[in-house]
């Protein structure tokens, strides 16, 4: 333990930090949907995989860079989410949790196995982007260009979401509907339209994260794992809090990377789950959440 040269730890911490930004962006989508609609999207990771495979298709047919493909896949996944909300999820808004859960599990099964039928169970990834082997040297530490660009893209999207919810009329209306459902109805907001937009944003976040993660590797059956990861992050940060999701993402990203070098890679998620249990017991609203 701690017997490797220092730069290896620094290097891992930076890798974790960069991956954490992507995790945070992915988790924000889940957090927004719960914060606004109080619906737990148990198909979030599966939507991520869907976005990832769309990016993979565009990459293998047109050699389109997955990061640039977000401009296409983001809106597409937004539409997918909005339609899903309008047709299915909306019926379950007031239903008991276990019914919402079953609907989402059904949807997750359809997505995972649909993708498996089309693309097969093997891992796919966009590994031959022009900058695949580039790196930057900062003070003796080498940073992969791929990781850096992924994190940068994630942070740009996070910034966009912050702006959207702070500054736009729609964003403010969604926050109003989240704070007070009845009040939002009273002042004449079209809540079911706002919910469709919210679910669309959630799906778009997942899809965009999929575009970034396809630069590593994804398989159809990684979906449930990502759902679980997103949950861990969101709970640690505070369910419903956007800054919390970002913080949770970075914490999990760094703890996974550090556990990988300090102990062994197979132990990496024990810290995530340990942290999750501690946060739930001692600060159930999450590190940055409001007390429920």
């Amino acid at each position: 333990m701690f017997d490797l040269p220092t730069f290896i730890y620094v290097d891992s911490a930076i890798r974790g930090l960069l991956q954490g930004a992507v995790y945070g962006m992915m988790a924000i989508g889940l957090s927004i949907v719960f914060g606004v609609m109080k619906v737990v999207n148990f198909a979030h990771g599966e939507m991520l995989i869907l976005g990832g495979y769309l990016a993979f298709m565009l990459y293998s047919w047109f050699a389109l860079d997955p990061i640039i493909a977000i401009a296409l896949i983001g809106p597409l996944m937004f539409a997918f989410g909005a339609v899903l909300q309008r047709t299915l999820v909306d019926k379950f808004i007031d239903r008991p949790q276990h019914q919402q859960f079953l609907l989402m599990i059904g949807m997750a099964l359809v997505l995972v196995n649909g993708l498996d039928m089309i693309f097969g169970p093997d891992a796919r990834g966009a590994h031959e982007v022009p900058y695949a082997f580039d790196s930057y040297e900062v003070g003796g530490i080498f940073i992969d260009a791929v990781r850096l660009y992924k994190a940068a893209a994630a942070l740009v999207m996070v910034a966009f979401l912050f702006w959207f919810f702070k500054a736009t009329r729609t964003g403010k209306a969604i926050r109003a509907a989240a704070d007070n459902y009845r009040g939002a109805l009273v002042v004449g907001l079209n809540v079911s339209r706002l919910y469709a937009i919210t679910f669309g944003i959630g799906a778009a976040c997942a899809g965009a994260a999929g575009c970034l993660l396809v630069l590593d590797d994804i398989t159809p059956h990684a979906g449930p794992g990502f759902t679980l990861l997103a949950f861990t992050i969101v709970i640690i940060g505070g369910l419903g809090s956007m800054p919390g999701a970002l913080l949770g993402g970075v914490l999990i990203g760094v703890s996974e990377a550090m556990a990988g070098v300090i102990f062994q890679p197979s132990l990496k998620s024990i810290f995530s789950y340990g942290l999750l249990i501690l946060v739930l017991l001692f600060r159930p609203a999450g590190l940055m959440g409001k007390r429920a």
């Binding site: 079953l102 024990i270 429920a292």
Partner: protein
């Protein structure tokens, strides 16, 4: 959800028609091995296994209203306790079973006490149950004494000789063991639901604050619901270990295991007595038909894809499950009875 039934425990309180139906159903299950081949028998065993663990899950979530998404933990603890005692010390599963139930019960008590003591409810509690199951999975992955990530293997002997004491034997022996367990679990659930504790659970499920205001010690009764549920689930875990003879942390503590437990209950009718049994058989049957269909078409993934669609259709069409809808159709009681 359904209001509480108004009769005492035991079977005496059942309406005549329901009693007859129950006896016919039980008789058909008891006679089944004489009429069906090994394949159908294995499907029935699978259905009964899910009926057992589904009933166990139903105690905690259906009766007491605490959503658990981590019941794989109790399956795994049950399987590992009895399995390790058998493999390491050649201790009979019938001695391992109570030990396994105590281990799972203690784990449930710990999780329940920690969560409810700190006021964790709803989605947060559900996610905490997942976290504990995943945490335990990784611990077992690195615990060499029980085989680590390569899992635990039980010595396989010939399946023609019946050795009930060591639970080694042919398919029909396992069938009767799990059938007896399901029958026992049904009686226990019925007994509990009609006792004081059952009424307290339903009160907590419907309105925790009101139940507390009525003077119910909610911490105590919620923890008890988890403990009872965990102990019953461990029975399923012990059966799993000796029926399948091998298991790994990766599979037995997996969230998929937790999810497959609760699907049947929600499909059958959560909070009802017969719903978990009906749902388990319905899903086992649908599963087999879909496997047949998948082999016919020859496309992998088709089974689970269709399974997902079926689940969505059922929850859209019959959100309270099949049993509350089927029961009045069969003339076995009013719509509003459990």
């Amino acid at each position: 959800m359904n209001p509480s039934p108004r009769h005492d425990g035991g079977l005496a309180g059942l309406p005549r028609r329901a009693l007859v139906a129950l006896v016919v159903f039980a008789a058909a299950l008891i006679a089944a091995p004489g009429f069906v081949d090994d394949y159908i028998l294995s499907v029935l065993i699978l259905g009964l296994y899910f009926a057992l663990v589904g009933q166990a899950w139903n105690v905690m979530t259906g009766f007491c209203g605490q959503l658990s998404l981590g019941h794989a933990l109790y399956i795994g603890l049950g399987a590992y306790t009895a399995g390790a005692l058998f493999v390491r010390f050649e201790i009979s599963p019938w001695i391992g079973l109570p030990v396994a139930m105590v281990v799972a019960g203690l784990a449930g008590a710990l999780i329940g006490f920690l969560s409810f003591r700190f006021g964790i409810r709803g989605v947060y509690f559900a996610l905490l149950t997942i976290a504990f199951a995943e945490f335990t999975r990784i611990l077992f992955d690195h615990w060499g004494w029980v085989g680590g990530s390569s899992g635990l293997y039980l010595p396989v002997t010939e399946r023609t000789q019946v050795d009930l004491w060591s639970l080694r034997g042919p398919l029909w022996m396992f069938y009767y063991v799990i059938l007896a367990a399901v029958g026992l679990a049904f009686l226990v659930c019925r007994r509990l639901l009609n006792a004081k504790i059952g009424y307290y659970w339903l009160a907590i499920r419907e309105d925790q604050e009101a139940a507390q205001a009525m003077g119910i010690d909610i911490l105590r009764y919620k923890v008890l619901a988890v403990v009872v549920s965990a102990m019953m689930t461990a029975f399923g875990g012990v059966f799993y270990a000796f029926y399948y003879n091998q298991f790994y942390p990766e599979t037995i503590f997996n969230i998929d295991k937790s999810i497959e437990i609760l699907l049947g209950v929600i499909v059958g009718g959560i909070g009802t007595l017969f719903g978990p049994i009906l749902g388990a058989f319905a899903l086992a049957g649908i599963g087999e038909v879909l496997i047949w269909f998948q082999d016919l078409v020859g496309v992998r993934g088709l089974k689970l894809l269709t399974y997902g669609v079926v689940l969505m259709i059922i929850i859209l069409a019959k959100p309270d499950g099949l049993w509350p809808w089927l029961r009045p159709l069969l003339g076995l009681g009013r719509r509003d009875r459990a």
